[in-house]
């Protein structure tokens, strides 16, 4: 193990390390902690210039209640869910199939198609912006959740295919061979042999894509406009415009917007990290 395990060092070092950990963590998360503190202060503290002093009283509940009951925030959150969940389902479903095709079959253009998915996934969004916006307008889907979902599904299919194909490549191929010898149809091999083995990959991709799409801002701004379709990342700017200089409410709003992917991460940590670090280990 590297660096040398701390248990093997002197008692002093061990205590020093354990003392340093929380200090380092607080320093690392300081900007975030500041916002969390802000979100629990009453507004009089800000008008009185008491930014960093002790809050004059705890106002967390009323601040968050305001966000939830007196602003458009719940609608934005709902939009985010209605955009994110279908995208996750769509992208994972499509990429299970593309990953299966590219991971199992040998045909001449296999590697080229695979590389096309990979390359497309690296493309800067901006080069897609004008044509995709145009396309969405043409389909009559501008400023709809569906328009955003369709694009996200297509774009995420690139990354998901990379992920799924590599995962399927690592499965024992003998299973598929055995099934073929038995005369099992190809689609049944996919459904009954391969798909059950892909559960960990599906879980990992689902949490990753959830986070990516929830946090998307660029496409939300390009393809949607109003409270009826904008996800929370784009909505928070209008929220902030509404509560300009009301730092306690803006802070509470930001925390609410950030929370769902954080919860997802903590609940599905193992899958999340497995997905994110795929390929980091040989």
């Amino acid at each position: 193990m590297f660096p040398t395990p701390i248990e093997k060092s002197s008692r002093g070092w061990q205590l020093g390390y354990q003392g340093l950990l929380p200090v380092a963590l607080i320093a690392w998360l300081l900007p975030l902690i500041a916002v969390a503190v802000f979100s629990m202060k009453p507004d009089v503290d800000f008008t009185a210039g008491n930014y960093w002093g002790v809050p004059s009283r705890f106002a967390g509940f009323e601040n968050y209640a305001k966000v939830f009951f007196e602003s458009d925030m719940p609608r934005y959150l709902m939009n985010s869910i209605l955009i994110t969940v279908p995208t996750v389902i769509g992208a994972v479903a499509l990429s299970c199939m593309t990953g299966f095709a590219l991971g199992i079959y040998r045909f001449r253009s296999n590697l080229w198609i695979f590389f096309m998915f990979v390359a497309g996934n690296f493309v800067p969004f901006q080069i897609l912006m004008v044509p995709v916006r145009d396309l969405t307008l043409g389909l009559g889907l501008y400023n709809t959740k569906l328009g955003l979902v369709l694009f996200h599904v297509a774009f995420q299919t690139g990354f998901c295919t990379l992920f799924m194909r590599n995962f399927i490549r690592a499965l024992p191929f003998e299973l598929i061979e055995a099934a073929r010898v038995e005369g099992v149809a190809e689609w049944r091999i996919f459904w009954f042999v391969v798909l059950p083995l892909m559960k960990p990959a599906i879980a990992a991709l689902a949490v990753l894509i959830f986070t990516f799409i929830w946090n998307d801002y660029f496409w939300a701004v390009v393809l949607t406009q109003g409270v009826e379709s904008q996800p929370v990342t784009a909505g928070i700017t209008s929220f902030n415009a509404q509560y300009r200089a009301a730092y306690h409410l803006m802070s509470a709003g930001s925390i609410v917007a950030a929370l769902p992917p954080v919860a997802m991460f903590f609940l599905m940590q193992k899958h999340f990290i497995a997905g994110l670090t795929l390929g980091a280990v040989k």
Partner: protein
């Protein structure tokens, strides 16, 4: 796995072979069509569009390479391009930064798992929130940064209001989640480092830096490669933070190509789609250098199979 995709021998009935030739295309069709439609074709459409003058409504007017010639004399474009270079170079600091934190946290004391997750935190929250958090952190009247500078008798500085500082200030905000990402890559990589090699090197007297450089880092190469890929892409895609923190200002000094393109194409003073597309093409060509390199590396890894 070497014979992974060889045609299977036993079953030679023609129907069976046909099924195996058609099946991959049926499985590919939905995903591939979607991807072509929304990602691959638009790339070419943008190339084409960059040769036109178009306000997004009327008929596009063919102007040849005029958009690109105009870029040559556009000061704002030059500033954006230069800022992109800063982003590319400084963003790479996330890699050693992430490695450093990973080495710091690669211990087995109590509660370390929770520490690792909490250090990873910034990556999970959206860049929009990161941008807001940092713009308040930098705020000249109440930001924590100036409070802390005040303790040592410095400041106050207005990071986001100073054309000379603003890009660096935003890059620091971007480095926060990116470092967390690199950290998690390295933590996973360190987990897989061969303990026997480490012990052997220790017996040979390798320690500290030499151990890290000659024994550990070579084993972390896959993690470094991925960290490099995601950091380069992240640097060239930077948009959210700029849009949230400064909206390109002050005086356009924090723009990058991706932001400038957006601004031109969908500006309040009339859409310049063709000009925007030309900027996007330049950005794409920069990215293409890296994409080609990434694909080439992947291709070399695929060969041995």
């Amino acid at each position: 796995m070497t014979n992974a995709a060889l045609p299977t021998a036993p079953d030679t009935r023609p129907r069976r072979r046909n099924a195996q030739a058609i099946a991959p295309w049926l499985f590919l069709a939905p995903g591939l069509l979607f991807f072509l439609f929304y990602v691959i074709f638009p790339v070419f459409q943008s190339f084409n569009l960059s040769l036109y003058k178009w306000d997004g409504l009327g008929t596009p007017e063919f102007v040849g390479l005029k958009n690109y010639r105009d870029l040559g004399s556009d000061r704002a474009f030059e500033v954006s391009l230069w800022n992109n270079v800063k982003w590319l170079v400084l963003y790479l600091l996330a890699i050693p930064g992430g490695l450093f934190i990973a080495l710091f946290l690669n211990q087995t004391v109590r509660g370390i798992r929770l520490y690792k997750s909490l250090f990873f935190f910034p990556f999970v929250i959206s860049q929009v929130v990161v941008g807001l958090v940092f713009s308040w952190f930098y705020d000249p009247t109440f930001g924590l940064l100036n409070v802390m500078l005040g303790w040592v008798g410095l400041g106050p500085i207005n990071v986001l209001g100073d054309p000379a500082l603003v890009t660096y200030g935003i890059i620091v905000a971007g480095l926060w989640p990116q470092t967390a990402y690199c950290m998690i890559l390295y933590l996973t990589g360190l987990n897989a480092v061969d303990p026997e090699q480490v012990e052997a090197a220790r017996l040979d007297g390798a320690k500290g830096w030499r151990m890290l450089w000659y024994v550990i880092l070579p084993q972390l190469r896959p993690a470094t490669f991925i960290a490099f890929v995601v950091t380069i892409i992240g640097a060239l895609r930077s948009f959210d933070l700029i849009s949230i923190m400064t909206n390109g200002g002050p005086f356009g000094s924090s723009r990058v190509l991706s932001f400038y393109m957006f601004e031109k194409a969908l500006s309040e003073y009339g859409f310049r789609m063709g000009y925007g597309a030309a900027i996007a093409v330049v950005l794409f060509l920069i990215m293409l250098v890296f994409i080609a390199y990434f694909l080439w590396s992947m291709y070399r890894q695929e060969r041995p199979r």
